[in-house]
Symmetry: C2
């Protein structure tokens, strides 16, 4: 079995694995996100030590990274984290040092595009060519796979920042996003729930009106992305979606908001098949990084 390195590069930790697939993870390490140099040095050391001690070759590395990122292969700053507010991490080359130190092909994509690729390879979107993955938690982000490839475009999608309908009579809360106020992330992220209701979302009981409102915003986003992109499946992951009471509420309201316009049985009769939790749970990111590496070699 060919082995691949996967790095889920997040703002608090870098999760590194060496694996041939989800059921064959040979080694794993969580590395705290400190300075770029220290963090990347620790990442490099993990992969070097593995190959030196086992004499097993790694074919390629995949990095599913927090952003924003430069994903344009023709750009001089390809492989960089660009304008992040995270101190010390703006304009940091991620791909360059990994490639130089490890001498391997490095695939690089957003954390959510990576998770989408992982879900397509081994999770809830196996065998599908056109689907979306969202994480709804501290922030909100979305990854898209169409015709089998991730969508990147000008920069990369920022699906958590789309504006949503906002009924201020029902919900006078102005929104949490410093850029857009009441975008998807501004209305429906974990921090927006905490700010609106005065306590962490995890402390709100399942029958609290917060959840119906939360489902309303997620469903509005689903209306937008299902109408606008026609996915065959939408995977909803992240901390907020661990509140399982959300799934039936989101599905019903999405169906109501689409209101029969799109005449597909998947929407009209099998909405449970359209909007689903991740098949890989919270492993979508790091296994997605492995899948990115695998695709880079194929």
């Amino acid at each position: 079995m060919d082995l691949f390195g996967g790095i889920e590069a997040g703002g608090t930790k870098f999760v590194c694995v060496i694996a041939s697939g989800p059921d064959d993870v040979r080694a794993e390490k969580r590395i705290a996100t400190t300075t770029p140099k220290e963090t990347l040095d620790n990442v490099i050391a993990f992969f070097k030590e593995y190959t030196q001690s086992t004499h097993e070759a790694i074919q390629a590395l995949g990095v599913a990274c927090f952003g924003p990122l430069d994903l344009n292969p023709k750009s001089p700053t390809y492989g960089y984290i660009t304008t992040t507010p995270k101190p010390g991490w703006a304009n940091v080359d991620v791909v360059g040092p990994l490639k130089a130190a490890l001498g391997l092909p490095v695939a690089f994509d957003t954390d959510v595009n990576g998770a989408a690729i992982g879900e397509g390879a081994w999770g809830a979107a196996q065998g599908m060519d056109d689907f979306l993955y969202f994480t709804i938690g501290t922030g909100i982000g979305g990854g898209a796979v169409y015709n089998g490839s991730t969508i990147r475009g000008l920069v990369h999608p920022e699906m958590g920042h789309v504006l949503l309908p906002h009924d201020r009579q029902r919900d006078p809360y102005p929104g949490f996003c410093p850029f857009h106020k009441d975008c998807f992330e501004g209305l429906a992220s974990g921090p927006s729930m905490q700010d609106r209701w005065g306590k962490p979302a995890t402390e709100l009981p399942p029958d609290h009106p917060a959840w119906a409102l939360e489902a309303e915003y997620i469903a509005a986003a689903m209306q937008i992305f299902v109408s606008g992109l026609s996915p065959t499946r939408v995977i909803l992951g992240g901390g907020v979606m661990q509140q399982e009471q959300l799934f039936p509420l989101v599905r019903r309201r999405t169906q109501e908001m689409l209101n029969g316009y799109i005449q597909s049985p998947v929407i009209l009769e099998r909405i449970d098949d359209l909007i689903v939790p991740p098949g890989l749970g919270n492993r979508a990111g790091v296994l997605g990084a492995v899948a990115l590496a695998q695709r880079a070699v194929k």
Copy 2:
């Protein structure tokens, strides 16, 4: 030069051309959309007569068609118009009769995906792999090309039916869409303008407040699609966009609504390059059909 047949199949007319490209259109015919049989018979006759009289071979046909459509090649009703409200045209096979009568490969896509492909081949998105085309007129629709291919997915995108933020204090008009009321099409199509202001959009003077409101809704849609899909270009065509005063208004409001979040010079400094009119004008649809045919053979 290889010749291709292009059919822009619309609800009022089918425009048919035989061409090798935009500057070499050998024949063209507008056929009224009557019954499916009569219309398709007339289309078939046009292409047959051309090849019989000139002895020039046509390599393939492209059809950019009003919908909704079945675009799934594995479906038994692939190539059909499906649930259209247009009398007589629901569940009509378009590709089958053309293929059977003309014996040519037939490429089939939505009218807006076709127009997008045309703009990518010869128009405002030449050389680009990731871009959007919208028509804003009697209806609103969008086509998407990512990684060089059109997005289809479950059915096909219905970008005109995404929900938009709607400030009812500024605009108490409830919206025109029979399915969603105040979606993009319900708030910003030509008929919604006529319904809201009591006269056709073409009779509203350029300084009428209708245009600032129209630009507001188009910009909200741009915020959603630029954030959500990260296109390198967005082409805005259709009858409403012939009001050229809309472009600067839409660009400015899109920039304001994105509010510096996406740190790309194209958005921050060159928004005129991001949001543009069609390069092929109202020929995007039929030339797009020719481009679809060309791609089918390549």
